[in-house]
């Protein structure tokens, strides 16, 4: 239990660090980015908006930094992420209209690639030495391919040659978003290629990791015991797989981070209107409020996913529950 509480503590601490980093960065960078930004924006936005930005970043105010920090945290807790410069409107509003596409894409692709990759890894690990082994270099190649590159390749293949999938956007133009079947089915259709790009590239990683672990675990005595006990083959594989999957879950932190980052880029390749596109536009426009908001959103999502993964690991591996440190 202590171990569990420690993990919660670490995540809380990390969340706090993230928030603070977000606060400190613009104030820390050489060359004072805020002044540069304000300089760039002269004439493009109203003076009130400039005042708002200054307020948000504590420019031109002689408030001590601690007070500014307090204001910042206060705003954050109330869900106020500031006002977007490029889009003109509250950041939280903009985010909420785009976030669902990304969550859908990432959520589904993560689950699909984990399940398929792990299952294939079990098969490859168990049937080691068979003809399937020649597919391993292919999997290695796929794993090293950047997600967005696969996205581009798919766009090429399906743009010019085969017109099976829609190429851009999240739903057919002309439809209005909402909970009706027209929209949902369109969204599903449009999501297929981005999903495929992410899944193909990340699946290989799961596959290879799981396969190596299966091979290691199969060499352990308890698997031989399971066979010696006369258990049916399925049960033996199940026992081995359950043990072999643990490191994959332990590594979920890293993998989820990579998956999220990669997905953002796939959105770029497909012009899929999720958070990824927002992020890139924000960077291009130096829209700091939006940028910060997205950063916080992404980081908190990844942290939550990691937390869930940690909990899952804690539940699955009884060895973590004794007080012994790892």
């Amino acid at each position: 239990m202590r171990v569990f509480l420690r993990r919660i503590g670490i995540y809380a601490f990390t969340a706090w660090v993230t928030v603070t980093v977000n606060f400190i960065l613009p104030r820390l960078m050489p060359g004072n980015p805020i002044e540069q930004l304000i300089g760039k924006l002269q004439g493009r936005v109203t003076p009130q908006e400039i005042e708002a930005i200054k307020l948000q970043y504590g420019q031109g105010l002689n408030q001590p930094i601690v007070v500014q920090y307090y204001h910042y945290l206060d705003q954050l807790v109330h869900g106020n992420l500031g006002v977007s410069i490029s889009a003109g409107g509250p950041v939280s509003g903009i985010l909420s209209s785009h976030v669902w596409y990304t969550i859908g894409l990432i959520g589904v692709s993560a689950m699909v690639s984990f399940l398929i990759g792990t299952a294939l890894g079990v098969i490859f690990g168990w049937t080691r030495g068979s003809r399937a082994d020649s597919l391993i270099p292919v999997a290695t190649f796929l794993q090293s391919t950047p997600y967005y590159f696969l996205g581009l390749v798919f766009v090429m293949i399906f743009a010019s040659r085969l017109h099976w999938f829609p190429l851009m956007g999240a739903y057919a133009p002309g439809l209005t978003p909402g909970f009706h079947w027209d929209f949902i089915s369109s969204a599903l259709r449009y999501g297929q290629l981005p999903l495929l790009s992410i899944v193909l590239s990340s699946l290989a990683g799961w596959l290879l990791g799981m396969r190596n672990m299966m091979v290691t675990i199969i060499g352990e005595d308890f698997v031989l015991m399971a066979v010696a006990k006369g258990l049916p083959r399925r049960r033996v594989i199940w026992h081995a797989a359950r043990n072999a999957v643990l490191p994959s879950i332990a590594n979920l932190a890293l993998t989820i981070g990579l998956l999220v980052s990669g997905s953002l880029l796939v959105e770029q390749a497909f012009n899929y209107p999720g958070v990824g596109i927002l992020l890139l536009n924000a960077v291009g426009n130096l829209d700091y409020p939006l940028l910060q908001g997205i950063f916080l959103l992404i980081t908190f999502t990844v942290l939550s996913a990691n937390f869930l993964a940690d909990t899952l690991y804690y539940v699955l591996d009884p060895r973590t529950r004794t007080a012994k440190a790892h």
């Binding site: 006990k229 006369g230 043990n243 004794t322």
Partner: protein
């Protein structure tokens, strides 16, 4: 003995590692018979082929092991008689019918011999559920408790995970699990090697009592001959995949005939008794890929003669008894003088076995 009294018949059993020209002979032409409720000890250094032999017999040998010859017949009791079961010709399905219900194994008590993710109780439950379809859940639970009592463990151990038990407790759990279906044959692969000396003795004497009570036959693999003296009826000493000596336990201990056996015995001081100088065996076990010519032991043998370097000694009986030795020293045709330590009289032949 009538066929009914045997549990295992092994004839000319051989095992290789690998296929084709680069393969290595790990076990050569081993034959023996194991009677019901008898204990066979298999002794030798690491690499002697003892584990390969025993795992091969049950076809649990991992790749790249290949069985290259021989016959292995296990006798499955059916009412008053016994049905012979050809292990080498059996299919996977057939093997599953005799595994654990008739032949079980106990491995070293390393943490990895038990599934680290499962509670002990679940392991027992699974084994019982797989083989005894008729038992209900509560019956299985009851039986698990009984089995733990057999080995002197509390019922609360059933709720524990393997890493929560001590080495000795884990070993007892493995023994209890091996006896769950009252098999006719239990194979023990160095079950006490990872334990401290005191626990070793405890477990060995517990095994002795269990065998008397339940009547299973045992094959006990070890490199420590002293453990086998009290427990085994017969001991087989192996070197480089060959049997070099086979004799009833007490006779072997009192009057070893093969120089390797003598060396093995001198490597382990007994817990009690007088102290004497430790000699051990010079050199190291041979590389199976490049076995010496003739007798595989000759490079390390203090009594090596010319013929030992040239020809492999046959395994032949001596003293017109059931003892077997593969050594030119004891072949009458060679006419060698047998050194004193290898020609002691064995004492009365009554009391052989237990």
């Amino acid at each position: 003995m009538t066929t009914h009294d045997h549990v295992l018949d092994v004839k000319n059993f051989s095992v290789n590692y690998g296929f084709g020209p680069s393969s290595v002979r790990a076990v050569t032409d081993v034959s023996f018979t194991l009677g019901t409720s008898r204990v066979l000890g298999v002794a030798g250094e690491s690499g002697s082929g003892k584990s390969t032999l025993v795992y091969g017999l049950t076809r649990l040998l991992r790749a790249p092991g290949v069985i290259t010859g021989g016959d292995v017949t296990f006798y499955v009791p059916e009412g008053d008689a016994a049905r012979p079961f050809d292990v080498l010709a059996a299919s996977e399905q057939d093997l599953r019918t005799i595994r654990w219900s008739h032949i079980s194994i106990v491995l070293q008590s390393a943490l990895s011999a038990l599934n680290p993710l499962r509670r002990i109780g679940r392991e027992f439950d699974e084994v019982l559920r797989t083989h005894e379809k008729a038992m209900s859940k509560s019956q299985r639970a009851q039986r698990s408790v009984e089995l733990l009592e057999l080995v002197g463990l509390d019922a609360d151990r059933l709720d524990r995970f393997p890493h929560e038990l001590s080495g000795g407790q884990r070993q007892r759990v493995m023994i209890a699990m091996a006896l769950a279906l009252t098999p006719e044959l239990v194979i023990m692969d160095e079950p006490t090697t990872a334990l401290d000396v005191v626990t070793q003795r405890e477990i060995v004497s517990e095994l002795y009592e269990l065998r008397k009570k339940l009547g299973f036959a045992m094959i006990f693999i070890t490199h420590d001959l002293s453990l086998l003296v009290e427990l085994a009826d017969e001991i087989m000493v192996m070197y480089a995949g060959h049997i070099v000596e086979r004799a009833p336990a007490v006779e072997l201990y009192r009057s070893p005939r093969h120089p390797y056996t003598l060396g093995l015995m001198n490597s382990f001081p007994p817990l009690h008794g007088e102290r004497h100088e430790m000699t051990g065996i010079p050199g190291s076990p041979p590389d199976l890929k490049a076995l010496p010519t003739g007798c595989p032991f000759h490079p390390r043998c203090p009594n090596a003669m010319d013929i030992c370097r040239q020809q492999v000694p046959p395994l032949s009986s001596i003293d017109e008894s059931s003892r077997l030795v593969a050594c030119w020293l004891h072949e009458p045709s060679v006419g060698a003088t047998v050194p004193v330590e290898l020609s002691k009289k064995s004492g009365s032949s009554a009391g052989v076995g237990q």
